[in-house]
C-alpha cells in the first residue's frame, strides 16, 4: 500500500512515495486473534440467586405484634407442580406431561406455561394483590420454591426461571417441609 504524490516526470527528484508496512499490523492482528480465540467463552454462564425464605429464615424471630406475611409457594414434583398460598386452600395441581426427562425445560412442557399464567395472576389479579403489599406500600417480589423427590435440577431451575419471568424476582429455594403454604387438601 503506498501513496504516490510524484508527477512521474521529475527525474532526479527524491520520491515522496510513502509506504505503510503491513507486516507488523498483520502480526498484531494474528496475535490478537490467537489470544481472543484461546480466552473465548463459547457458553455464556450466568447465575440465578436464591436465598432462604419463610418465617425466621434470616435468623430473626417472627414478629408477634402483626400477622406474618403471606407467601406464594411452589412445589415441583416429577409428575405435577403444586402452587399454594399461605392461609388459602391449595390450587389444583398442574400435570407435567414430560415428567423428569433428562435435560427437558419449560418450552417442551406445557405445564410450565400454565405455571407462568398462574404466577402472573398473583401479581395482576386484584383479589391477590392486597396479600403481597409490604409495609412500605410496594408489592413484594418474594416466592418460595421447593423440589419434591424425583425431580431433576433442570426442573428446579425452570420453575425459578418461570417465577422470575412472572415478576417474582426474589426466589427462595427451601426444602418441601419448610413451605409456608399447605400443598394438599386436608
Amino acid at each position: 500500500m503506498s501513496v504516490d504524490t510524484s508527477s512521474g516526470g521529475g527525474g532526479g527528484k527524491k520520491s515522496v512515495d510513502a509506504h505503510i508496512n503491513l507486516v507488523p499490523f498483520i502480526d498484531l492482528m494474528s496475535v490478537l486473534i490467537a489470544f481472543l480465540l484461546i480466552t473465548a467463552v463459547w457458553t455464556n454462564i450466568a447465575q440465578m440467586n436464591v436465598t432462604p425464605k419463610g418465617q425466621g429464615a434470616m435468623g430473626e424471630p417472627p414478629p408477634i405484634d402483626k400477622p406474618p406475611p403471606k407467601f406464594v409457594s411452589v412445589l415441583i414434583g416429577p409428575n405435577e407442580i403444586r402452587v399454594g398460598m399461605t392461609d388459602r386452600s391449595p390450587f389444583p395441581p398442574i400435570k407435567r406431561t414430560l415428567g423428569s426427562v433428562e435435560g427437558e425445560y419449560e418450552s417442551a412442557d406445557p405445564a410450565f406455561g400454565e405455571l407462568l399464567t398462574l404466577l402472573e395472576g398473583f401479581r395482576t389479579k386484584p383479589e391477590f394483590q392486597g396479600d403481597f403489599i409490604a409495609d412500605n406500600g410496594v408489592m413484594r417480589e418474594d416466592i418460595e420454591i421447593a423440589a419434591d423427590k424425583g425431580v431433576q435440577y433442570q426442573g428446579v431451575i425452570s420453575t425459578m426461571d418461570i417465577a422470575v419471568r412472572a415478576g417474582w424476582k426474589d426466589v427462595g429455594f427451601i426444602p418441601p417441609a419448610s413451605l409456608s403454604a399447605r400443598m394438599t387438601e386436608q
Partner: protein, 182 residues
C-alpha cells in the same frame, strides 16, 4: 471522455510512468515474482478481531465448567459474581476443588448430613467473615457461594446441600446456569 477496454496490465494507458513501471515492470512480466494482495487478508483479520472482542466475556475467568458437567439452562439470569465454588457433578461434590462426597451415596443416605462438607463450609465461612470489610452497599458479610450442578442432579441431593449451606450461614446461593435465548 471515451471509454476504453481495460488493458492487460495495470497502468497500460496510464500517463504515470512510475506506476506503470512499478506494477508492470516496464511492460514485461517477471516470471519469478508473485504479488500477494494483502487488503482482503487485513479486512478479514480486522473483522475477526472485532467479532471476537464483541463476544468476549470475562465470566470464564470467574468459573470454569467442569468437563462432562451440563449446566441447566435459563432465560432469566444475572451476571456472574466472584464467590467460592461448590460443584455437584454426577459422581462427586467438590468445594473449591476439594472432594466432599459422592452424590449417589448422599442421595440414598436417610440422614441430612454431609459431615465433610459441613466442616469445610463452616471453616470457610469463618475465614471469609474474618477478612470481610463492610461498606455502605454491603454492610454485613453476604455469604455468597456459587453452586455449579449438573442438570440431572436429583432434588434429594440439592435439598441436602442447600440446607447445609443455609445452616452454615451461606445465605446467598448463586445457581450457575447456561444463558438461553427465549
Amino acid at each position: 471522455m471515451p471509454v476504453h477496454k481495460p488493458g492487460p496490465h495495470l497502468g497500460h494507458k496510464s500517463p504515470f510512468k512510475y506506476l506503470a513501471n512499478k506494477h508492470t515492470h516496464g511492460g514485461k512480466k517477471d516470471p519469478n515474482s508473485a504479488q500477494l494482495n494483502l487488503t482482503p487478508m487485513v479486512d478479514m483479520l480486522t473483522m475477526l478481531v472485532v467479532f471476537l472482542l464483541s463476544t468476549f466475556s470475562a465470566s470464564g475467568e470467574i468459573m470454569m465448567v467442569q468437563r462432562g458437567l451440563k449446566l441447566p439452562s435459563a432465560v432469566a439470569k444475572t451476571e456472574l459474581e466472584r464467590a467460592p465454588l461448590l460443584i455437584i457433578s454426577i459422581d462427586t461434590i467438590t468445594l473449591n476443588g476439594e472432594e466432599m462426597g459422592d452424590p449417589r451415596t448422599i442421595k440414598d443416605d436417610p440422614t441430612d448430613k454431609i459431615p465433610a462438607l459441613t466442616e469445610k463450609l463452616t471453616a470457610l465461612q469463618a475465614e471469609e467473615e474474618a477478612v470481610f470489610e463492610p461498606s455502605d452497599t454491603v454492610p454485613v458479610w453476604p455469604g455468597r457461594i456459587i453452586l455449579q450442578a449438573d442438570r440431572t442432579t436429583p432434588s434429594e441431593v440439592l435439598n441436602k446441600v442447600t440446607t447445609i449451606l443455609y445452616l452454615t450461614k451461606w445465605r446467598n446461593i448463586s445457581f450457575a446456569v447456561e444463558e438461553r435465548a427465549k
